[in-house]
Structures are given as C-alpha cells and as structure tokens.
C-alpha cells in the first residue's frame, strides 16, 4: 500500500516548477483563449500512464497561475523529455515538429511561448526558449476535431486533435482538476502566510478562530479533493471504463466546488486589499472560477454522477476503493 506520488512524477513536477520560474523571468505569461488551448493538450496521444505526470505538471502551472497554453507546452515537452533521446517518439507524443535530426519545436498558441527541445548529450534533452521563430499559427474546430496549423520558416506542421473523444475529454478534465487544485493550494498557502503577518487588535489575524477554522476547513477539503483526483487518475490510467468516467467527473465536480469555496474564503481573508486591481488575489480567483466552470457547473456535473449511481452495481463499483472482496454490508 503506497499513496505517495511516484519519484518520476515528483521529478517532472520539480522540472516544471523550474521552467515556470524561467518563464516568469522572461515575462512569457499572457492570458489566452481557453478553448483553443484545449486542442494543444493533445491528450489523445498521451499514454494513459503518462497522465499522472501531466497532472503533476498542470498542478504546478495552476500554482504559478501561468497561462494554460504554457501548460500544454510543458506537459508535452516534459513527457517527451522522459522518453529521453528517442526523437521518433516525439511525433507519437504529439509534440510540435521536429526541426532537425535531433531537435524539435514545441509551441503554444498564440505564439508567445515557444520552446525548442534540443539534445544535450546522448540521452538528455534541454529546453531552449525561442520567441521569434513562428510566423503563423491557426486553429479551427469542427465536428469535435481541432486542426492546428503552424508555420515557421519553410516548415509547416498540421495536427488534428480529436477533442470530442470521451477518453480525451476525461483526461483533459483530470488535468484541469490538477490545475485547479494547484491554484487553490498556492492561494491557500499564500493566504496562510498573509494571516500570520497581518495584525489587527494587536495580534495576527491568523490567531482568531474565525479565521483559523475557515482555513482549516479549506485545507482539509483540498486534501480530500486531491485524494479523489489521484484515485480517478489511477483508474483512468488503468483503463477502467464506466467507473473511471464517473470518478473523473465526480472528482472534477468536487474539486471545482472545493476550489471555488477556497477562492472566496482566501479573498475574504485579505480584506479590502483583495478588491484592488494592484493586489494579486483576484488573479488567482479569476483563474480558479474560469477553470472550474469550463466543463459546466460543478453542481450539474455532480448531479449527472449521482444519476448514474442510482443503479446498484454502479454504486458498488464506485465505492469499492482498493477493496479486494465484494463489499456488501449489513
């Protein structure tokens, strides 16, 4: 029995954090259209087992409040980096386009952020940001299929992404969850730090129970949401059908509602400053609300899960978490 993240996922998350810091220094963060970004995740091309790594990265992206498209690029680049030195794999992973015998361009859309993946030694890859390469990028969305077109120099890359496929949608939903949870966790951490140093009535506001207890509730709910997500990812990676789908949808509805609540709670804890444009809290709040409602309201999604669980066998399978024997009870 082991519920800790794999060493690989920890390493991938760490790398993502480094790159995000680099990105911050380069001022590459720019808000961008969410729907278009969906196509760039190319989760239909991911191996199911790679989903947990993708989620680990998305969590970091949420925590950094970086644009989602940034995440798309990172997910793909990092997964490619894990393949280590097998350029032919890049195509399989859906990464942009090879630009030379051992290099590839990984991009995001619009083209503010662009990374070149170049070999560094026989097995390692290195990410090099390039900013002036891509001359045109387009996308179109028709009948559930997104077509992306990318041109730079004399090169052209066109990809189709079957976003409408259920498995892709589920994978995307799970990655969205991770991003939400990352954003809420960072917001909660920053808020805890704030209430420790902000004083009123001669003591830190974080010493008042009215504040302490609300933050404790937020932390517990977030841990619960993260446990649900990890289990849903685990099911999805193992290819369980209906149950995996219900878990991904249920975990998403739960995480979305939890993160909405946390964003409101944290906003409140910062007092009047939170309502000013210059202060940072509203940016996290907007990010969380936008991501949380991307797939409809959490209530509606949970209601659809509940409707499916009205059938006995679906419910039994749903609650049989890690249980070796059928679990009927008194």
């Amino acid at each position: 029995m082991d519920l800790s993240p794999t060493a690989d996922d920890v390493m991938v998350a760490h790398t993502a954090r480094q790159i995000l810091r680099q990105g911050e220094a380069l001022d590459h963060k720019r808000a961008s259209a969410r729907l278009e970004s969906a196509g760039f995740l190319q989760l239909d091309l991911l191996e199911p087992a790679e989903l947990s790594a993708a989620s680990a990265v998305a969590r970091e992206v949420g925590a950094a409040n970086a644009p989602l498209l940034y995440a798309d690029a990172l997910v793909r680049v990092l997964l490619a980096a894990r393949v280590k030195g097998v350029p032919s794999e890049l195509g399989l992973l859906g990464i942009g386009r090879r630009t030379g015998p051992r290099s590839a361009v990984v991009r995001s859309y619009p083209a503010e952020i662009c990374w070149a993946l170049v070999p560094n030694g026989p097995v390692d890859w290195e990410l090099v940001p390039i900013t002036d390469d891509i001359v045109m990028a387009q996308s179109s969305f028709e009948a559930g299929i997104m077509t992306l077109r990318l041109e730079w120099g004399r090169e052209t890359a066109v990809r189709e992404v079957r976003y409408a496929e259920p498995r892709v949608q589920l994978a995307y939903l799970a990655v969205c969850d991770a991003e939400l949870i990352g954003a809420a966790a960072e917001l909660l951490d920053r808020t805890v730090a704030h209430v420790k140093q902000r004083t009123q009535f001669g003591r830190p506001v974080g010493s008042f129970q009215a504040v302490r207890h609300r933050l404790a509730d937020g932390a517990v709910a977030l841990g619960a949401a993260e446990s649900a997500l990890l289990y849903a990812l685990n099911l999805l990676a193992n290819g369980h059908g209906r149950n995996a789908e219900l878990w991904v949808r249920g975990a998403h509805a739960y995480a979305a509602q939890t993160c909405l609540d946390i964003s409101k709670l944290c906003f409140q804890m910062h007092g009047g400053m939170a309502f000013t444009q210059e202060y940072w809290v509203h940016r996290w709040m907007r990010r969380i609300w936008q991501t949380a409602m991307w797939h409809g309201s959490p209530q509606a999604m949970m209601a659809s899960v509940g409707a499916a669980l009205t059938y006995a066998d679906a419910l039994e399978e749903f609650v049989a978490v890690g249980r070796p024997l059928p679990g009927g009870s008194y």
Partner: protein, 383 residues
C-alpha cells in the same frame, strides 16, 4: 498509487468474514430486546472473540497478542463494521487503556491488569470528561486527595460509556491544586464496585443509553493504583487520546457510511427518482474517507504516527457522515418523521440522522480538530 493490501491481510479478511458468518447472526439485534439482554449478548460476544484469539490480536506477543501489523488491525476494524458487529464491552480496555498500561504501567500492573482485559474478564470504562471539562479536558475538577493509604476521590465524570456494567475505570483526577493545570493531574485505576460510586444513565436522542454520569463520593483508591507517576496524568491521557484517531476509526466510519449510502440509493430507486447531486456527493465523500484512511495506514505501515492527519481525517469523516444522513433525510421528506420509531436499534432515515449528530462531538469535537489542524498543519499562531 498502490491500494493493494498484502496477501496476509487479504487472507486474514477472508478468514474473518468466514468466522463472522459462522458466529454472528445477521439478526442479532432482534434478540436484544432490553438493555440487559443487549449487555449479555455483548458479554458473550467478547468471550467468543477472546476464545477465537481475535480479542486484542494486535497486542505485542509479550502481552499475549500476535503482534499483528496495523494493516491487519485495519482489516479487522473494517470487517467488524461491515458486519455491524457489536463493539463489545471490553473495547475501551483493549484499545485505549492497554497500550497505556504497556507504556506507563509497572511490572506488577502489567501482569495483573492486562490478561483479564484480553480474556474479557474485566470491563473498563474511561473517566475523562466532566460537566465542566469537555473540550478543555485539562480543567478536570475531580479531586484525588492523598492519604496514607492512597487517595480519596470526589467529583463527577460524564459521557462515561459502559459505566453501568464496567468493573473498573481509568480516571483523570486532580491531585495538586497548586500546580499548573496540566501538571496537577494523575491517572487513577479505580474499582467501579468501590463504595461511594453512583451511576446515573443519560437517555440519548437515538433511543440508546450508553452514556452515564458517574459520581464519586469520597471513594478510596489504594496507593498502587496510579498509572504513571503522580502528576503524570496529562501525559498518560494524551497518549490514550492519540489512540482514538487513526486509520481504524476512519475505516469503521466508511463501512457504516456505505451502509447508509446503500439505503439512500434504494430509497431513491423506490421513489423512482434519480440520486442527483446529493447521492453523487455522498458517494464520493464516502469513498474519499476510505482513501484518507489508506493514507493514514500507509503512513503507519511506514512507521509514522497519524499526527495532524488523524485530526484532518476525523474532521472529514464525521462531517461527511452527517451530510450524508442529512441529504438522505431531506430527500426522504417530512413523512420520515411519521415513520420514525425510536429504539436502541432503529435504523431508519431519522434514526441515522439523529445518530450522526454525535460524530462531530465525540472523540474530539470538530472545533478541537480545527484547532489542531490550524496550529500543527497550517502553523497558525494561537495568540
């Protein structure tokens, strides 16, 4: 994520289920029409468990257990709850007092007190809370005045489960009025048949009467009946309390929640209604309780104490269980109250709603758990 149990645990689960099938009839409630018959049934049950070597099987070998891992103990808690087996009368002695005797007891106390707990000959109850000392446990006022022969105890304890048939009580009492509030306490092991003890049962809203108020009117306690030293009571009490919050509590809760969940689903189906958001959320939270219990257990198997995670999980399961019972009641509508028949074994929507109200109070209130979480998990200051 690896949620598989060891082979040993799975085999134990199969053996335990077979044993439960053979030894516990599904309708055992029906045979317990009065409190007396219920107590007799549980007394027999304790002896059955002891005879089968299941009573305290997780105790270290040197004290008569089999030294089983936390994993087997978790399986045991889960399967007992799944079968809705009675808790037994000796549970407080087995789970709470015995580990403290093993840690703080003298050689003579270990030899004298542990075997009768294991063989279900002596029933212990816990004397911690008082009318004026609930969450603020260290404020106990029950006095133990030292005399030549030992102590004279006066005061009262409340919420004392099983006091009306217990043989002995582990009692947190104040031995020093001048010392700082945590320092003046001593843990006493008191014979419940001593002169001067009065027991007054409390009727509960769920139709049961497990709790009592116990009055001590100049009760004499021999000198050698302190557990730990004089003034060490708080340390011993904290050690006992840490045994209340672990994976076993969460797994038991999840097994009971699953039972409620199934009844909730059936009720939806009977009405021809979809479960909707309420059923979805309840199912998810029930399953999350299991996942959180696994997190504690995985930590325990790696040698870590639950710590604040135990508080976080207790807060989560107790509040989730209440939400589940509330949602099911709201879905059932007002006629549920018309159908409600209070009684010790009532298991309808209203009875379950009533029963769950205690979950956020017993074993450390939700407010106390939030204090622990905000202090130890979030590092927030208390002043």
């Amino acid at each position: 994520m690896d949620l598989t149990w060891s082979n040993e645990a799975e085999q134990f689960r199969v053996r335990l289920r077979n044993w439960l099938d053979a030894n516990l009839s599904a309708d055992w409630h029906a045979r317990c029409r009065s409190l007396d018959s219920y107590i007799e049934f549980q007394r027999d049950w304790d002896h059955k468990l002891a005879a089968a070597g299941l009573s305290g099987f997780w105790w270290p070998k040197e004290y008569g257990g089999s030294g089983a891992s936390p994993e087997l103990r978790a399986v045991y808690a889960e399967e007992m709850s799944r079968a809705n087996a009675p808790d037994g009368l000796t549970t407080l002695g087995l789970r709470l007092l015995a580990p403290a005797i093993m840690k703080f007891g003298t050689g003579q106390q270990k030899a004298e007190l542990l075997p009768p707990i294991l063989s279900a000959q002596v029933i212990w109850c816990q004397g911690f809370s008082e009318p004026e000392a609930g969450s603020d446990l260290a404020s106990v006022r029950t006095r133990a005045v030292q005399t030549d022969g030992g102590f004279i105890v006066s005061g009262s304890k409340i919420w004392t489960s099983r006091a009306h048939y217990a043989d002995a009580i582990f009692l947190l009492a104040r031995t020093d009025l001048t010392a700082e509030k945590h320092a003046g306490l001593t843990m006493l092991l008191v014979d419940m048949h001593s002169p001067g003890i009065e027991i007054s049962p409390l009727a509960q809203i769920n139709g049961q009467s497990n709790f009592n108020q116990v009055f001590f009117n100049d009760v004499r306690v021999p000198k050698d009946r302190t557990l730990g030293g004089i003034g060490d009571g708080w340390r011993v009490a904290l050690y006992i309390l840490t045994h209340e919050r672990g994976a076993t509590g969460a797994l038991s809760a999840s097994a009971h929640m699953e039972h409620h969940l199934r009844l909730f689903r059936q009720a939806c189906e009977c009405r021809g209604a979809s479960g909707g958001e309420g059923l979805g959320r309840s199912a998810l939270e029930t399953a999350i309780v299991r996942l959180l219990a696994y997190r504690i257990l995985a930590g325990q198997l790696a040698g870590n104490d639950p710590g604040y995670l135990g508080s976080a999980v207790k807060l989560f399961w107790s509040e989730s269980w209440q939400r589940l019972a509330e949602t099911a009641l709201l879905e059932a509508g007002p006629q549920a109250f018309a159908e409600y028949e209070p009684g010790p074994f009532a298991d309808d929507t209203v009875a379950r709603f009533m029963d769950t109200r205690q979950r956020t109070i017993a074993g450390g209130t939700s407010e106390i758990q939030r204090e622990i979480i905000s202090q130890h998990m979030l590092g927030l200051p208390r002043k």
